[in-house]
Amino acid sequence: MDSAIEGLENNDLIVQARTSYNAFASLYRRHYDAIFKYCAHRLFDRHLAEDVTSQVFLKVVENFHSFEGNERQFHNWLYRIATNTVNEHLRRSVRQKTALGIFREQSNNIKNSTFEDCTTKLAILKQAILSLKPRYQTIITLRFFENIKITEIAEVVGSSPSTVRSQLGRALTKLRKKMVAAGITKLAGGVDNG
């Protein structure tokens, strides 16, 4: 890879990527991990996440010519495409229902087991998050898994920061109820079995 390209600032890289395959490849590599992780956190399945990540970047290739903006806007644009692609996948896939059913069963079976077991915690978390509506899933994932600021989440989901803050509050309330129902009554300093 061209070392000059590797050294480019993101804003310059976006300009270069319009005419240079190497620059586009570099831009892709700078963002691949973040988008893959976001998809993995939304879908809780690395294979699905790889499929969806592929779709996301294909959309990016197809639409890159129409993108106008700086590095931050590109970053938000990527997350917006990823969010829509994940939502589209969840909507169209019957696997979500199947997955939810499996997680419910797992959850019911493990209520009496120790909550120190990571697999158990993961199953409950999956069940709780996947049962939220897609917008709440998006906001929770961006905020807590990707550590993205409220103002940037607002740009990704096309709302104001204040609305996102409000929806985050609602989403957490719902999540809390679902996790309590699944047996987790306390999160701070570990997890208790309710």
């Binding site: 005419t19 395959y21 586009f24 490849a25 892709y28 590599r29 691949y32 991990d33 893959f36 992780k37 993995a40 956190h41 809780f44 690395r46 996440a49 990540t53 592929s54 970047f57 294909l58 959309k59 290739v61 197809e62 639409n63 010519h65 129409s66 993108f67 106008e68 644009w77 917006r80 495409i81 939502n87 909507r91 990571c118 915690k121 993961l122 978390l125 897609p134 917008r135 807590f144 898994f145 600021k149 409220i150 103002t151 096309g158 104001s160 920061p161 204040s162 609305t163 803050r165 409000s166 985050l168 509050g169 609602r170 957490l172 999540l175 809390r176 306390k186 999160l187 701070a188 300093g189």
Partner: protein, 531 residues
């Protein structure tokens, strides 16, 4: 950060997620992408740099433009049988009220202080995108109605500030609390009639949410910055700066509403009643709005105007039958000049809390060429190879399609000499919406196609039955045309199975319709051979 947020963060840290990227997948995908990229024709655009400058804040501009269009369409549906009273046009009514409000500033003289109260009520929890997804998975009449209403509604209150060049800037004030309860905001303004100096501050309790001031040299703007903290910006005014002659245009109770809706899109007066306020003031209550697709006027502004002075006492905004905001006049008096500082940098920079005023740039529309439309479209888009013979001056508007981002929505408008204006709307949200309808109704079977063209288009005429023509009014009204009672609409399915809609503002013969549809051509093909 709230306790539970921290707890949740800790909880997640303790979970081992399988989220390590696989370099093999990354490299393989990179090769695939580069192969696709190599096959994708480069689209050099000499206008790119110009566009970049113009569209510096394109999305926010378009969002604002779309919001205005949505506000217009909110309502969309001007229907004479629903008590429309056009004896006093609504825009004239507003202009008259603003002129009357000017007297509040100048009759009192010196430094005028005006205090208003804004109450914001929580809106519906679900947005149009979610409702559309819901509709796609399982369509019902109730879901259909909920989606359309959500699509056509807006949830924010426009607020205006003055920029350093003297031009107005639109902001949006919206509720953002963790609570579902209404929030009261004090809207305080001071205006010095002799010098034009002014200050406006929006507060909830002691907390400043928004402020704009002019101290004779600089413009100050205080809004929410990153992480919800108050951010104060000071700018020396430019040479062209001039304080508007009528302070009611930017400080007044109706300034935001008057400034955010184009004159030709102003909703009509549907009803006028009289009322006596608690302090004994007699007011006329004007209901400004459009009937919805089902004939109801449940999204509207209600203006309470003093019968003696013509000054607005209260504005109530109702969306889908629910009050979303009330803006009420409280005090108008003269104050001692020594009491007032015009310099906003004295404001305390405290966290903003629950409410914020979000900045959006001035509403603008984005007109594109056929070539630009074909480049930006994410699915096939079509144009008439030959513009309808009775029309002139085609314009294509590029609008954000937030529900299907990164897709765009396009509206090609053709004003007509004989009033039969034509609007062709297309975009992925249209395709998603009508595909859902198609899934349920099996278009073409339940109702036969009106016309199937040789170029692979199928057209379905929409009857005049109440509620079925809502989108034709949406399309025409949003494009600046006044929908006529004899307008017609067609849903089109393209050879690529995308949906679009044509609204024509008047009757069309069978031959005209067929010529119109026969001439539809993929925009990419048009660009390659426009003749």
């Amino acid at each position: 950060m709230a306790d539970y947020e921290k707890q949740f963060e800790n909880f997640i840290r303790g979970i081992d997620l399988d989220d390590t990227p696989d370099p093999k997948h990354r490299d393989k995908l990179e090769q695939n992408l580069l192969t696709v990229l190599a096959k994708t024709p480069r689209r050099p655009n000499p206008l790119r740099e110009i566009w970049r400058t113009i569209m510096n804040s394109r999305m926010t501009k378009l969002c604002a433009a779309a919001a205005v269009l949505i506000l217009v369409a909110t309502v969309g549906w001007l229907s004479s049988k629903h008590g429309s009273n056009q004896q006093i046009p609504s825009f004239t009514l507003m202009a008259r009220a603003c002129a009357a409000e000017r007297t509040l500033f100048y009759d009192i003289g010196g430094i005028t202080h005006i205090a208003n109260e804004i109450i914001l009520y929580p809106g519906p929890e679900r947005d149009a995108g979610e409702l559309l997804s819901d509709l796609e998975s399982d369509i019902t009449k109730e879901k259909n109605i909920a989606f359309i209403k959500s699509w056509l509604s807006h949830q924010w209150l426009p607020v205006y500030s003055l920029r350093a060049d003297g031009k107005p800037r639109e902001h949006r004030l919206e509720l953002a609390g963790h609570t579902d309860e209404a929030v009261t905001i004090s809207d305080l303004a001071w205006y010095d009639t002799a010098t034009g100096r002014f200050a406006r501050v929006l507060k909830t309790g002691d907390q400043v949410l928004f402020a704009n001031a002019y101290d004779g040299e600089s413009i100050y703007l205080a809004t929410n910055g990153p992480e919800g903290r108050l951010q104060i910006k000071q700018e020396l005014v430019t040479d062209e700066f001039q304080v508007p002659d009528n302070p009611a245009d930017f400080l007044g109770i109706a300034a935001g509403i008057r400034g955010s809706i184009p004159r030709e899109h102003f909703p009509p007066i549907q009803d006028v009643t009289t009322e006596t306020l608690e302090d004994g003031t007699q007011v006329r209550v004007y209901k400004l709005g459009f009937a919805d697709p089902w004939g109801k006027v449940d999204t509207y502004y209600s203006f309470k105007i003093d019968t003696e002075t013509d000054i607005i006492d209260e504005i109530e905004c109702v969306v889908d039958g629910e009050i979303t905001s009330v803006h009420r006049r409280m005090v108008a008096k003269t104050v001692d000049s020594s009491e007032k500082s015009w310099n906003l940098s004295e404001l305390s920079v405290a966290p903003m809390g629950y409410i914020s005023a979000r900045i959006d740039t001035d509403a603008d529309t984005n007109i594109v060429t056929i070539q630009q439309m074909s480049q930006r479209a994410t699915s096939p888009v079509y144009v008439f190879a030959t513009d309808p013979s009775w029309t002139y001056d085609r314009k294509i508007y590029d609008l954000p399609d937030e529900m299907s981002a990164p897709a765009h929505m396009f509206a090609a408008t053709y004003p007509a000499k004989d009033g039969r204006d034509v609007v062709l709307c297309q975009g992925e949200t249209f395709t998603r919406y009508f595909s859902a309808i198609d899934k349920a109704l099996e278009l073409g079977k339940s109702v036969p196609w009106t016309y199937v063209s040789d170029n692979g288009f199928k057209a379905l005429h929409q009857s005049d039955k109440e509620g079925e023509m809502w989108w034709t009014k949406f399309a025409l009204k949003s494009s600046g045309f006044e929908p006529r009672a004899n307008r017609v609409g067609y849903i089109l399915i393209s050879p690529a199975n995308t949906f679009s809609v044509i609204a024509i503002n008047g009757p069309i013969s069978e031959q005209e319709l067929q010529e119109l549809i026969d001439s539809l051509i993929n925009a990419k093909d048009y660009v390659e051979s426009p003749d």
